[in-house]
Symmetry: C2
Subunit: 274 residues, 2 copies
């Protein structure tokens, strides 16, 4: 149903099979429009080398994964997080990324104070934004599913992400991943509220029933219960014209398959289930 020429590969989807160079080559060969590397794979290949290869392959970079992880138990930890986020901004710029995705972080070790963690996130984004605006590199908050509130991200709804954008101003937007937000009864209204200006990235996968692992059991589009055409239409009704970035952590299924098969299935599923 959707245009598979807008496919972008989040490299986590084949991270057990391919290094970044292979991902770039695979995206070009399978007709993907873009790629979204993870920083560890980017570091392994070398930022300059990767930037050149991506450019020569004619790929867009739908995002760099990831900055964020702002909350920390002390000032040293918070400063280290800010320093790391500045490096992430530079890397995103070096590869021509359309945004730096922020997985904002959860509770610091030993803390049960979500209000404080959320305040640290706001402050961390604000500080990073000061730097990112000069580059310039758009920052994209990715609201994560509430099951990750403790250990990965304490921004858990699109509403909270929109509130942060309201508070912190230009240069800040949102990476919307259906996996994290599909359950939210307020979603349609919050997508409209975000609008095309804020919607910097759109991530696809599916929610499996049953889900056997909180982190590593995401589904391929069509294998789960998310009404993907519904959410795509809501997102595109804002004027969003970005890529369909496919990000699937799947320890027991897609990470065990021939990566060329995974790439072919992604294209087919975008055409039939998105």
């Amino acid at each position: 149903m959707a245009d598979s020429r807008k496919a972008s590969l989040n490299t986590a989807t084949v991270r057990k099979q391919w290094a970044l160079a292979q991902c770039i080559e695979g995206c070009a060969r399978h007709g993907f429009a873009g790629i979204a590397p993870w920083r560890d794979m980017l570091a392994e290949m070398g930022v300059k080398h990767a930037a050149r290869q991506i450019r020569e392959a004619g790929l867009r970079v739908s995002g760099l994964c990831r900055g964020g992880m702002f909350p920390a138990g002390d000032a040293v930890g918070r400063a280290a997080a800010l320093e790391d986020n500045r490096r992430a901004v530079d890397e995103a710029a070096a590869i021509g990324a359309e945004c730096l995705v922020l997985v904002v972080g959860g509770l610091p070790e030993g803390s049960k104070d979500l209000v404080d963690a959320r305040a640290q996130v706001r402050d961390g984004i604000a500080a990073t934004l000061d730097y990112a605006r000069q580059v310039p590199m758009p920052l994209a908050i990715e609201p994560l599913h509430p099951m990750y509130a403790a250990d990965r991200a304490c921004v858990n709804t699109l509403s909270e992400a929109n509130d942060l954008c309201d508070a912190l101003g230009p240069g800040l937007g949102i990476a919307l991943d259906v996996y994290h937000v599909w359950w939210d009864p307020a979603l349609a209204g919050e997508i409209a509220r975000a609008g095309a200006e804020r919607l910097l990235a759109f991530h696809l996968c599916d929610w499996l029933v049953p889900t056997r692992d909180l982190l590593l059991d995401r589904g391929m589009m069509g294998d789960g219960v998310i009404d993907l055409p519904l959410f795509r239409h809501q997102v595109e009704a804002t004027g969003f014209d970005g890529l369909y970035e496919v990000e699937i952590f799947s320890a027991e299924n897609w990470w065990t398959r021939d990566p060329d098969e995974v790439m072919r299935v992604i294209i087919e599923r975008i055409e039939t289930f998105v």
Copy 2:
């Protein structure tokens, strides 16, 4: 910190070790104020027999688990759900339960339509409420964590539960389980909105980091990251004066222990971590 004389045992917490008769006897022996049976355990013991034993043990019944599961793929399935809910209301009345807890159900088999599932839930509660008001038996919607939206309950925030109470009127309230709602940035306001009149039950456990299973890896109070005193204070600030019902599904830890040890730990942890 909290008064352990308000402890109530949700029988799921020791369901692998004890039948309902043993749970009743154990609650009395360990100084629990109440019990909250599951319907399968109640059926196994026999409703009349259980009702008498509970009464003779001097226990309150903080709730019966559970009614709900309203959405179905066809009219026959929906009618069967309503019939089962009427039976659940009768059983709750027979054992003197303070409420019938509703786990409302998720997507029908093959459906991806959450809006429709939520409409079915509203209609199912409305129909059950007509019956429950005559008994009378208060119905308590339990908002479940968003990770259960597909297969267990598509009411996933206290805000949605409050909206349903607004829409459907008297006789309907809420069972608030910290496990499902602790992540929600709107929680404090929604607890105040619910108020003592709607807050019919208060369930305790903890969120473990990491959580190894979506269903069966809940933590004992104090072993996780939920700020239990904070939420208890918010709940009790409304005037709520009910029991502390402890409900822990824990396949690899608490279900493998001596149930008398589990009961002792519950009491200790209410005193130190709630």
